[in-house]
């Protein structure tokens, strides 16, 4: 019992730290994605009064008083702007109505007859819009927008026109770049791991060192290095020109090719190492055994080695793909405007546009995809036979 308590005492600091600085930030990010902007928090009294309203009977004086009190309590134009935008998107006419009302409320500190001020305050649809906006502190607007959908005025979920949003295109692009990188990693990493596993002594050590050294090197250093190699007058273009293979320099920087080359370089170790560890666990006499039973080398590879090493390939692919979909630095530095992946868009919404709702919604999409891939990877690597 005492031992168990001591163990809990040792684990507690890290647990508390991660709860505070890992779980909480993610929770805030997610709650930002699903919470309504402005209106509910800014109009608490109105929200309470409208909660009891049947949404069809004429507006009451009580509702008017609550709204006037709430508007009076708001002292910054930012909040007023947020509310107006939200209400106006639900019912047009709010822009002028709110401007008029807010200035009247600010001039006059006494009781105010809103209907006398503007007769639209006597109409049910305007109050319905406020009631709808303040009814729930949660919204699915951002999550739907993250996949290019929206709710129609009647509440149905519809696709946005292709011109209105580009998030699906970005998700698709992220998927294409990550899949391309994974494929390139398999094409280079699988044979590489096979050659390394069949080599012995210093040759194997050298091949492994060539994988580990880049892995330990700073990501920024590697990205900067690719920047140097890929530029128009860089070493690669110069070499190809010197060999007479090309006349004019190939465009390798700020485009898709460059991004995939650099990302493949960065993620290749995560493909080679799992495959290698599976391969060296395969008994060395299996292939000679297959050969002695009459299988030619190709058949021995196809029927014996490939099925056995497939686990390593799948683990490596999951790792590479999972890391690739969340990549930010390499596409930001090596890619052009049309190579930016979901992470760049999240960063843009968060730091450029200060739209935390959209940043959070796209963050949820990326987080869910990553965690799902990780769960599959985790199952795969723990369910199998013991790893070497």
């Amino acid at each position: 019992m005492g031992k168990r308590l001591a163990a809990i005492g040792l684990i507690a600091p890290l647990l508390v730290f991660l709860a505070l600085f890992f779980v909480w930030p993610l929770a805030i990010m997610m709650s930002n994605a699903v919470s309504s902007p402005g209106a509910v928090r800014a109009l608490p009294a109105t929200a309470e009064v409208l909660g009891d309203w049947d949404r069809t009977s004429p507006p009451t004086a009580e509702m008017q008083t609550a709204l006037v009190d709430d508007l009076r309590a708001i002292d910054d134009d930012q909040t007023v702007g947020d509310i107006t935008r939200q209400l106006n998107s639900a019912k047009s006419g709010f822009r002028t109505l709110m401007a008029k009302t807010v200035s009247a409320v600010r001039e006059d500190t006494g009781a105010l007859d809103l209907v006398a001020l503007d007769k639209r305050w006597g109409q049910v649809p305007f109050w319905q819009a406020i009631a709808a906006a303040t009814a729930s502190p949660y919204t699915d607007r951002n999550l739907l927008a993250a996949i290019d959908m929206a709710r129609s005025p009647t509440g149905e979920i519809v696709s946005l026109p292709a011109t209105a949003s580009a998030n699906l295109a970005i998700l698709q692009r992220t998927f294409v770049i990550a899949a391309g990188t994974t494929l390139a990693c398999i094409l280079i990493g699988f044979p590489y791991a096979m050659v390394a596993a069949s080599a012995t002594g210093w040759k194997r050590q050298a091949m492994l060192a060539a994988v580990l050294l880049p892995l330990w090197t700073s990501l920024l250093v590697r990205t900067a290095a690719w920047f140097i190699l890929l530029q128009d007058s860089g070493l690669i273009n110069r070499l190809l020109q010197a060999l007479g293979l090309i006349d004019a320099p190939l465009a390798l920087l700020f485009n898709r090719t460059g991004v995939i080359i650099a990302m493949t370089h960065v993620l290749l170790p995560f493909m080679v190492l799992p495959i290698f560890s599976v391969l060296i666990a395969i008994p060395a006499n299996l292939l000679p055994a297959a050969a002695s039973l009459g299988a030619n080398p190709l058949r021995a590879f196809w029927r014996v080695l490939l099925p056995l090493s497939l686990r390593g390939v799948v683990s490596g692919s999951l790792l590479v793909f999972m890391a690739a979909i969340g990549y930010y630095i390499t596409p930001a530095l090596i890619g052009g405007p049309t190579d930016q992946m979901i992470s760049s868009v999240i960063a843009f919404y968060a730091t450029g546009a200060a739209n935390w709702g959209m940043a959070g919604a796209l963050g949820i999409v990326l987080l869910v995809a990553t965690i799902a891939l990780y769960v599959v990877y985790d199952r795969l690597s723990s369910s199998g036979t013991e790893r070497p």
Partner: protein, 259 residues
Amino acid sequence: MRVLKITFALAAMTFLLAPLVAILPLAFTSSVFLNYPVPSYSTRWFAELFTADVWRRAIINSLVIGLGVTVLATVLGTLAALGLRERKLLFSGFLRTTFLLPMVVPAVVLGVGMQLLFVRMGLANSYLGVIFAHTVIAVPFVFVNVAAALQGVDTRVERAAASLGASPITTFRRVTLPLAIPGIVSGAVFAFATSLDEVVLTLFVAGPNQRTLARQMFSTIRENISPAIAAAAFLFIVGTVLAALAVLLIRRGNTRRAP
């Protein structure tokens, strides 16, 4: 077949190592362009690195933040790894997975949440905030390394110490800790390296005063690329090689001592 194998292996190794080799000589170029050919060699970009205000401050910031992260992550990760040795603990598998999750979650997603949280907590644009942010992603490395080292510690040795009259604290100090030290040191090195190379979280939580070396390199590549990048990269690579050697030496020293 054999020729094909060798050619492929050499080509792939070139692909893996060429970028690291290509950037090193440019650290000593006298030109203002980050490109070959190098007209003549000079140390002007190292001078730039250590005298220009932005670079010097970035280096100092990186060292201060890196040390803070190393201490915090090493303490938290080591304690947790020690705690998780207790096998009867409920949810120990769940906790193990949880402690590794920060490695998996995309940095941009975490960065958005941290930016929002740190503003609320008053940690935005502060050294402490950056240290906490980096520690979150550095701690799994410490945990993994220490847990692996502890797995190699035979519990019978500790029981033997206890049976010979050593108190739990003496057993820990004289038996467990010396055996776990290589794991702790490797973890600390990884934690420092993680902090040194971190850009994304830094972009979200650090202010202009906490600009780190990695952050400064990021914006230099993005805005006005200069050979100062190569000089900084040179320092990074030398640091990496030294750290790797240190880890290897400690591991080797330990395996020699082990029976």
